[in-house]
Symmetry: D2
């Protein structure tokens, strides 16, 4: 029954990630959209008029007429006092101010912005990778004297590599990781990449992406000890490229482990990887990692909608083989993750579901 | 004057590389096309009717009416006894038989096929990288009792990395190289990649490509000693991908050198890299390597036609920086080479020009 | 219960339309796949090995191991005697022989091939457009002395225009129709259009397409009288183009009616167009024609999966306005239909459901 | 010698059309760039820093360091008093004010903006179509009391159809024209069309485009009488679409002539169409219209750079055939014109060359 669902708001609901949040929340069993906010430009317009609905399917009827509020906790509270959590698709500049304001006002902020990700007291979480990092929230609340809090998801590009590294790191340790990404255009938001720049072309640079990939991977795989994340002690280096693909980030990886590893063993660990903490959550895929046997998979167009009730929540892996440059400690493989689902809105949503299961978030 | 030009034939002239040969030879100052061959299916047709003219510009008027011969030295000799050299755009299956037949018949074969590339007595040459390997030809002739011979160019993907590694290898030594390629669809020939496979997609596998990349790079950078190539002693590992780009292969590289290297120094060496043996040849670019300063270059559509009178003969490099995973011996950069010009027909043509300068090829 | 479903076979199951048939039939409430056939090349292989699964989602588990039979009624009968109908995704050359053989053997053939479409005794049917043409089947059976029969769906490009013309023709009459199509690459099958031909390009010619469009539109909108189709008496002229789009054919139309027409009235008729004969069939969309109000719709990527339980069964129309060149008898609009669903496999499937409802097809 | 060239400025030099002007002017035999202007945002920056160089090849060395001036006649005069003409790549909003200001200041403005195109005293000129309309300039100068003046080129989409209609109109008269366009993304400028909107998609709407197409075609083919353009008396109706193509607008046309026409005759007239007034001008193509015989041409990627010393100045026509809906007075064909060369910067440049030949423009 709708009255029993947890009321949530989407901040920055009109952009590429915002519409994905709205799409995923529209038939969600735990949450219901009670408010939508937008930038000044769109404030006061109805959602159907202002949103760039760049995702599949039609805009849900129930949000079409919702009036866009300013991105301000007072406005949201006044309009929908029952809101308990917000999903933030804000650009970094706005997130810096707005997200703490909502947290201060007692709301849990599930953020897709990068601004707070690397702050020491902010949990950066992929539920299957580091569910216990959610406990940082207590420290954050005490330190900042907030009754709400901020929980971040990751950069869209790191979601595939981090998921894949989790079972490998746990079983064999990881020293060094080379990554080369082939990233979809939706990763740059809307309007984002001009067609004149990317048609029949590759852009071999994405601002700050290579830095984020390394920093976030180390935090995600780190250990929470005494209220602090000890970053995982591997190095990661990335070459990031934009390619003419709508959705789905491919990342080729060469991994040097601490201990010898057989590719078949690694493939088995990935294939059977799962987390009891996450299993059965509404948005969780049955298999967080799908390992394909065909020589030419994963492919973005064909595999990006794999996994989970909404599709796009599994990381798809292929070509698991020996990395000869690292000898018996070397693994070579290619990963695919849907950048606006697993790597953005779907990831935040799963974070909120995890918080709900842990009792941090309730009606 | 035409009479003074060296008469040549193009073998397999109707496919993607074949038409590029015809395009580049059509206004060449040293060579003139005296014969064209094709597979049985097209034999006897006129060139305009049978060729897949998938390159820029119009088919040159002088070849439109040329009748396609069978790919057989006797047929070529009978039709054009003055032919001294052939450019082979044959598929591997045909090259295995046909190229030795032409060599035995006294013709120099400049081959774009991979079949003979790794044979110990066959020169695999990029003129700026290893011009002296051409001397293998003498050994080949003696060993096989041929009056002609086979000279191979490289796989289209290796041309960028090998060019870039030359000055780095000579100055600092090279231990390990990670490569990730983003390859254009023209690399698969015509009809090649179905649009249904590559539109809005990436294919993370290209058959045999990763193997060729390593093997050819080691041979290209190897040393000719006593009639034998001693392969360069580095390891190279590649992740190869096909992307929706018409022409131009991007290869991201992480290089571990033997000795410490400053990225600025490496950039300087690449920028000033040149070979007196090659300078001034008709198809040679002034700068074999163009190093760009912009953060987001090279890009295939914008940079692939760089260098040389015909365009597309320079390797374009960008983002030369430190590879942190290899510390002070680490270099990170991205390369672009036109796969059907520098990496195929243009490369073979430059090999022939080098042979001409060395006196191996004359009217 | 599976035992109660009608057993069917798919002929030519490995190509672009064949896999779409398999996808749509895999969870069908009335039909179940009992046999799959392929060309000689694939015969004897298992489906997973031989099929080009170029549609969304995974290949259904239950067909992966099915062994491909030769396209021959005896082979199908021997393997699965319970088969009552076959869906034909055969190329024309094979359809010419094979489809009559199956019909002679007592099976109903729902064909996607063009070979029999224009034969006077073969029903060419879009259920919402001309359901009564199915009655031609009786004449066909008598004339050819078949216990089975052939029922054709239309060319993929005509499905949009024909659907749209139905209510307009009935209300206002139609004299002349100008069409310009922008057709997706999947319309050419697999491998179909080479990426080298269509990337950053338009092909302004599709063989026989303009002819089919006119002929089929006239037959579809014709009247069945005394066992003969009297073709509708309008003229239609088309300009056909291939564009770099995966799925979804756009057709811009300028229609001259017999009687004055107001665009709003035409839009209303299209929006409310429905057929009781078809309503409620498993694959039928609630609205055969969806009329959109936005100025820039329909768009293939965003609208092609509209309508019906499987998606892609509605024709989406936009920009309904006055065609000034025809004055008060002029309509101008743009249509979109999914070419491999409504325009191919989905259309045939709906024909079979209609046949089932009419009692022609039973367990 | 440079000193003898006519000094010109480019207004709005940093955008998609602006860079094309700079590219075409950089090696021009009559003109030399003496000043470049930009919007406030870029004013004061050097050109290399501010320009979006989205055209082929490198930015010419001589403009890289030029400082961008405000778009103001005083600023241009102060910086380069020798400037005689300006090429305007301004957006409409700026053109409305700026272009008259430059004309008032005594400069000839060759404008690519649409703002003044349909004004009765402003020549809208394609040199091969209506060179005599340039005489309107005298009326404009008298009416507005300007010593300079404004001469417009056409909308990029109309350039193909107008060129093709000229010989047909003159020989057979024209009553009605149906057009369907498939327009390239560069027609929308830079950044222009988001890749998220056009990848794997068609946009069936371009704002104001259909209206411009009709209005400008009628003015272009009109007659200048007593200082007034009498518009040509045909009707034209267009369906405009954006497709995923970089450059080159395709327009399919169905033409109803006044008098009977044989397609072969029309093809001959187009093929031999030329204007002595234009022949030999530096940017003029030898054949304003190239008629191709292949069934599947013109294609944007393969034909857009046809004609003229710079390429892209010819209109390429194919599939000239009977339009059955118009009977013996019907023609059907498809045209291609490079939208940023013939349809924009190249068109304006040719207008300026025509003005020079007529003595209106001098050093």
């Amino acid at each position: 029954m709708v009255a029993d669902k947890i009321a949530v708001a989407v901040l920055g609901a009109t952009g590429a990630v915002g519409v994905r949040f709205v799409q995923l929340l529209s038939r969600h069993p735990l949450f219901r959209i009670a408010a939508l906010t937008a930038s000044d430009r769109s404030e006061g317009k109805c959602y159907a008029e202002a949103a760039h609905w760049v995702v599949e399917g039609e805009m849900p009827a129930e949000v079409r007429e919702m009036v866009l509020l300013p991105t301000d906790p007072e406005a949201v509270r006044r309009f929908a006092p029952e809101v308990r959590a917000v999903f933030s698709a804000l650009p970094n500049e706005s997130a810096a101010q707005a997200e703490p304001a909502f947290a201060r006002a007692g709301l849990l902020v599930f953020s897709n912005a990068s601004y707070h990700r690397m702050m020491p007291d902010v949990p950066l979480v992929i539920p299957e990778v580091n569910p216990d990092h959610l406990d940082l929230l207590g420290h954050q609340r005490r330190a900042r004297d907030w009754s709400g809090g901020i929980i971040c998801n990751t950069n869209c590009t790191v979601s595939g590599p981090a998921m894949v590294l989790r079972p490998i790191y746990d079983a064999f340790g990881v020293r060094r990781v080379f990554c080369a990404s082939l990233q979809a255009i939706s990763g740059a938001g809307y309007p984002g990449v001009p067609a004149l720049d990317i048609t029949d072309n590759v852009l071999p640079f994405i601002k700050n992406e290579e830095e984020k990939l390394e920093a976030e991977a180390r935090k995600l795989l780190g250990r929470l000890e005494d209220g602090t994340i000890r970053e995982a002690d591997f190095s990661l280096s990335a070459h990031c490229h934009r390619v003419p693909v709508i959705d789905g980030h491919v990342v080729a990886m060469s991994v040097e482990t601490e201990r010898p590893v057989a590719p078949e063993e690694a493939a088995h660990l990935m294939r059977t990887f799962c987390r009891p903490e996450v299993a059965g959550l509404p948005t969780a895929p049955e298999h967080p990692i799908i390992v394909r046997e065909e020589v030419d998979r994963p492919q973005p167009r064909r595999d990006r909608l794999s996994g989970g009730p909404v599709g796009g929540m599994s990381v798809v892996v292929g070509r698991v083989r020996r990395e000869p440059l690292f000898g018996e400690r070397g693994l070579k493989l290619v990963t695919l993750a849907h950048n606006t689902i697993r790597g953005a809105a779907g990831g935040s949503l799963l974070n909120a579901e995890l918080a709900w299961r842990r009792g941090i978030l309730a009606v």
